[in-house]
């Protein structure tokens, strides 16, 4: 918004000030992370929208090198690689968000419940179960589930949900166990607050902030798993534009047309790196480290 256009409402102004203050509190890493993510989100919204080419349609001769008309060149079926890369960005980011959001809710909820019960038998059983699940070899679990449920988007998501919730449950349980003995929770007990109030008002908000911090690094893992399984032909399958699947297609032309893997691979790495930088930066802020 430029000065002189519509007057900013007082609330809007306040929000701007608040945002600016927050931005100043960030360190270099988290700022870079945010800039990268904003850049990719913008491109993935606008590139498919503004381009006249369709991600599935033949537009030119196959395997054309990058040019003014086709900035990323064309793929082996003569489709516009630029449009495909950012159509893939939409799909991959959406899938990764879907992949993170279900386990975080389920896992945090179950973990907090488990961490706040005081039944010793339930605790022992729980201990064994969650530790076992988190010790379970990750990719093997995912591959096994995909083999069972089916090698497609649905199978991929189910496999991720089943394999990831226990991580959140473990974090939530550890945090709520620590909180259970925190003096402010004891103070709430002495004040006679109901168990439900203590859980919702005092334990949950503290657990959830911990789970959210983990969710950022989990996002990287999940976006890589999605790409990886699709690369193996066990997730999203061609012709759907997906970074991993595009890498698998482009791999055949590695010697002669390397841009077929370089563009999708670069943007996949850039997205994951943006999240990684943001996660790392926020982690350092929360630990009170300066620049």
């Amino acid at each position: 918004m430029t000065p002189g256009t519509a007057a900013v409402s007082p609330v809007g102004r306040l929000r701007q000030v608040e945002l600016r203050r927050r931005w100043r509190q960030l360190n270099a890493e988290s700022r870079w992370g945010l800039v990268i993510l904003a850049f990719i989100l913008m491109l993935s919204v606008f590139v498919p929208l503004l381009s006249s080419n369709d991600a599935y349609e033949f537009v030119d001769l196959p395997l054309q090198p990058p040019s003014a008309a086709l900035p990323f060149g064309s793929d082996h079926l003569g489709r516009d690689l630029l449009v495909r890369v950012f159509a893939a960005a939409r799909l991959d980011i959406a899938l990764a968000i879907l992949g993170v959001s279900v386990p975080i809710v389920i896992g945090t909820f179950i973990g907090t419940l488990a961490g706040t019960t005081r039944n010793p038998i339930a605790e022992t059983v729980w201990d064994g179960l969650v530790n076992a699940l988190t010790a379970f070899p990750e990719i093997i679990l995912v591959l096994g589930i995909v083999a069972m449920v089916g090698a497609d988007i649905r199978g991929l998501l189910i496999a991720i949900w089943i394999s990831r919730w226990a991580q959140y449950a473990r974090i939530a349980r550890a945090k709520s166990l620590a909180l259970r003995d925190a003096e402010f929770v004891q103070a709430a007990q002495v004040l006679g607050y109901s168990q439900l109030r203590i859980l919702i008002r005092h334990i949950m908000p503290n657990v959830f902030s911990e789970a959210l911090a983990y969710a950022l690094s989990d996002f990287i893992f999940i976006i890589v798993i999605i790409g990886g399984l699709s690369f193996l032909g066990l997730g999203v399958t061609p012709p759907t534009p997906e970074w991993g699947a595009m890498l698998a297609e482009g791999r055949l032309y590695l010697r002669t047309e390397p841009w077929l893997i370089l563009f999708p691979g670069f943007f996949l790495s850039l997205t994951a790196s943006g999240v990684a930088l943001l996660a790392r930066g926020l982690e350092r802020i929360s630990r009170g480290e300066d620049d």
Binding site: G128, A135, I140
Partner: protein
């Protein structure tokens, strides 16, 4: 006052040590059991009849019955499970539907490749991460320290199936330092085929380990005993080794153990990219071909390997740090 006389001190320490070990062992067995159940359910939870799926609509009744027998899915579920367990106890993991070869002999043939890959990778991780981590800790506030932080975040986020392809492009296509793909057994000739895959995995592992070492050294260096040593006049290698590196090594070595377990997982993708005939490639092929007995066998056996490696890392972790012992 000492917390106990030396006689009972040894006793107590032993007791403290034993308990977590037993607990971890029990846990490892529990995970192995879950793994077995998971592998068992793998075939049985497939929507529809696997025999029908594999044979198609034209299959005769006899064919389907024979196939069910081959897959071990004839009879009641409890009796299936009993057979499954007793077969496993005898080392019988079923037969591949494709090649009709026993699963165990396939695994025995393919596993060495994956293990060689693991050993090469871990060796390389140590070689790369130790100097990197120490340097990153010592020069934390210089440009090198900042570059390390950013670079590590970027490398860790870069998927191996992309960095692997780029490395092939660089080292195998542009300059001929490695084969594009393939494998020949036998040490040290196999290193020619393994160094590039191992390097690819280390694009992720080495920064992670270096970061663990770096933050561990930084943490140690702010401890009061370090200052006390400086004031006491401890200098040179003795200072760096005894007061900075040695107290910081425990988490690094423990992480190395867990890394060995993760390499087995990375092998799945790396072996496909570099065309290494290991266990990961076999698993992916089996999933693609719906070779259910083979999937079941590999999931269980390689899972067992991971559980074993994790258990060993747990032990080392508990044994290394005297502070962890009291907890």
């Amino acid at each position: 006052m000492m917390t106990a006389s030396t006689g009972s001190l040894a006793d107590r320490t032993l007791r403290l040590l034993r308990r977590p070990v037993l607990r971890r062992l029990a846990q490892a067995f529990f995970v192995a059991f879950l793994l077995m159940v998971f592998a068992f359910l793998l075939i049985r939870l497939i929507p529809g009849d696997p025999a029908m799926i594999l044979l198609g609509d034209q299959a005769t009744e006899e064919d389907v019955i024979a196939y069910r027998k081959l897959l071990g899915i004839d009879g009641s579920i409890p009796s299936q499970f009993g057979r499954y367990v007793s077969n496993m106890a005898r080392g019988d993991f079923g037969v591949s539907i494709r090649s009709r070869e026993p699963v165990l002999s396939i695994v025995q043939k393919r596993l060495p490749v994956s293990l060689w890959l693991t050993v090469t990778t871990i060796f390389m991780t140590v070689l790369l991460a130790l100097p990197l981590g120490v340097a990153a800790a010592l020069y934390r506030r210089t440009w090198f320290g900042h570059a390390f932080q950013i670079g590590a975040s970027v490398l860790v986020a870069t998927p191996v199936f992309f960095s692997g392809l780029v490395l092939i492009l660089l080292f195998a296509v542009q300059i001929n330092l490695a084969p594009i793909a393939g494998y020949h057994a036998g040490f040290p000739a196999n290193l020619y085929y393994l160094w590039l895959p191992a390097l690819t995995i280390n694009f992720v592992l080495a920064p992670v380990l270096a970061r663990i070492l770096q933050s561990s050294i930084v943490e140690t260096s702010s401890e009061e005993f370090v200052e006390a040593a400086i004031i006491r006049g401890t200098q040179g290698w003795r200072f760096y080794w005894r007061y900075l590196l040695r107290p910081s090594l425990a988490p690094t070595i423990a992480a190395l153990g867990y890394f060995a377990a993760t390499v087995v997982s990375y092998a799945v993708i790396i072996e496909i990219i570099f065309n290494l005939p290991g266990i990961g490639m076999t698993l992916v092929d089996a999933v693609r071909n719906r070779d259910y007995p083979l999937v079941q066998g590999i999931v269980f056996l390689s899972g067992l390997l991971v559980v074993g490696l994790t258990f060993m890392a747990d032990l080392v972790n508990g044994w290394l740090d005297p502070r962890a012992k009291i907890r």
